[in-house]
Amino acid sequence: MVLLDIKNLTLEIDISGGWVKALDKINMVIHEGQIHALVGESGSGKSLIVKAIVGALPYRWRITADRMTWKGQNLLTMSVSARRKIIRKDISVIFQNPINSLDPTLTLGQQLKEMLPTDKLSKLWFWQRKKEKHALAVKLLHKVGIKNHQLCLDSYPHQIASDVVQKFMIAMALASEPRLIIADDPTRGMEVTSKTQILKLLSRVNQVKNMSVLFVSHDLLAISSMASYMTVLYCGQTVESGELHQLRKRAFHPYTQALLDSAPSFRKDLPPKSPLSSLDGTIPTLHHLPIGCRLGPRCPRARKECVAIPQIRRVHTHFYSCHFPLHWEAK
């Protein structure tokens, strides 16, 4: 069953007089029980997509889409309160920087108890409900692997180690038992052991509760260990999307290939200290976006035709948008 269906999502931002397309015709479909990875470098608009889904963007930005539906209901045309209800119940977000996205003036326990949905509580009287809430909070913390629950509930965000706060954010996201968890770069700046713990936790949640996960990151190693489907973004355009093993076996877009090659641990045949392959140049800023295919100036295969925006082409379940895809001559 299709949970979230986005077609041609375009987001325009007003930058010093001109409207710039920060997101340009994004397509994404998330099925139930799927782990969907969204890959892109910084400034590619990953977090903007997340914010557009939950509706946390400023009103003055223009959002247009052919289709943006949650289980068949159109998210863009419904009233704000109806949308908020859906998001409260079914979608939860793990934000990028856990310490900054929590309230520094409340203890973690207060914040977690606030997240618990009231219809889960069965008892009537307030003292009973208080106890029940506490028990639920402790249970949630145990579920994500925080053993010292009392210390965690009583302390403020800055008093706790950052990987524990990250786990706590996941506990908060799980509190309302959503259908979709959006994890916005949950493993940034972590060392390997706590990273694997968090990845295991997310994939376990996915398997046990059949929750879908939208995993937003630029850490390809983490993504490829858990995701089944991947969408690659570059500067607000989707360049390629498809099953992960297909993308890894045969990527059509030069950018996807460059991303895959840039991680040294992906290739076993690479001798130590040999130069890594990389694209020249850097990611353009929003003020200086190239026309047409936005990879154009950095692409090793760019030709004259690349100044036009490439059409989305399709091979089975594998979508890509490039005028001169890799592996094409061989066919």
């Binding site: 950052s162 700046g189 060392e191 390997v192 990273k195 694997t196 260990s225 641990s265 990389s278 850097t282």
Partner: protein, 261 residues
């Protein structure tokens, strides 16, 4: 001949009270290692395991409690601090925030020259231009400010600032953490190229075991201020001895292997 030779380096962070005994908050070391010219040493460990502290001890930002650092057979201490400033340079954790937003890049690069060398203005500016070209930027970049550059270019400036005194050792605190994959491989390539050309000793801290495995010759694994294991990269990744190292390597391998099936 060893370029840098560290023996039993220790450090203690204590709280000082007037009457009661001082309490030890953090205990580092003893750490010992040697590094030859052109070799790379990686320091790996948990958060708050004292990696950054070790880097600061090496450059001389903190004074060690005991232990010695020899460089080319000469012991480094307070009397020859100018030699140390000249020969060991540091790249800080966040290249974005470690550059002064109010100064042009040329001024930022000129500062270590003014403080450490006796060059005149002309020679300084020639050296700045040469170093900027060396790290793959243009001579005009000296008139730029921090905000005009992208992440990768800032990393290059941080590297240029470390290189400009022609050091023998560069100490880098998570130089690749904040960079995006495609820019990161550029930075890695640049560092490896400079190391080949200039014969630099390179000491770096990283979480990314893929990169550690790729570019380092030796590894030090740290946990809670203690060196858990140290040795050749190959040996540590293939035959880890300590439990903590095993856990680290296994969790990395698990990530790498899961994607292959």
């Amino acid at each position: 001949m060893d370029l840098i030779n560290v023996e039993d380096l220790t450090f203690q962070n204590c709280t000082k009270h007037m009457w009661s005994k001082s309490q030890v908050i953090f205990d580092l070391g003893p750490v010992s290692f040697t590094l030859k010219a052109g070799e790379t040493l990686a320091i790996v460990g948990d958060n708050s395991s004292g990696k950054s502290l070790l880097a600061k001890l090496l450059v001389g930002l903190e004074t060690p409690k005991s232990g010695t650092i020899h460089m080319n057979g000469v012991q480094l201490n307070k009397s020859n601090i100018s030699v140390r400033c000249h020969d060991i340079r540091m790249i800080f954790q966040n290249s974005n925030e470690s550059l002064n937003p109010g100064l042009t890049l040329g001024t930022i690069l000129e500062e270590p020259l003014r403080l450490n060398t006796k060059l005149n203005a002309q020679q300084r500016s020639a050296l700045i231009e040469q170093t900027l070209r060396q790290v793959g930027l243009m001579a005009e970049h000296r008139f730029f400010y921090r905000h005009m550059l992208s992440d990768g270019q800032r990393q290059r400036i941080a590297l240029a600032r470390a290189l400009i005194l022609n050091p023998k050792v560069i100490v880098a605190d998570e130089p690749f953490a904040a960079l995006d994959p495609s820019v990161r491989s550029q930075a890695v390539n640049l560092l490896m190229k400079l190391q080949r050309d200039l014969g630099l000793g390179f000491i770096f801290i990283s979480h990314n075991l893929g990169i550690v495995r790729h570019i380092s010759d030796k590894v030090i694994i740290m946990k809670e201020g203690k060196v858990v294991e140290s040795g050749k990269t190959d040996a540590i990744f293939n035959w880890p001895k300590d439990d903590y190292t095993k856990k680290l390597v296994e969790s990395h391998q698990a990530l790498v292997n899961r994607q292959h099936n």
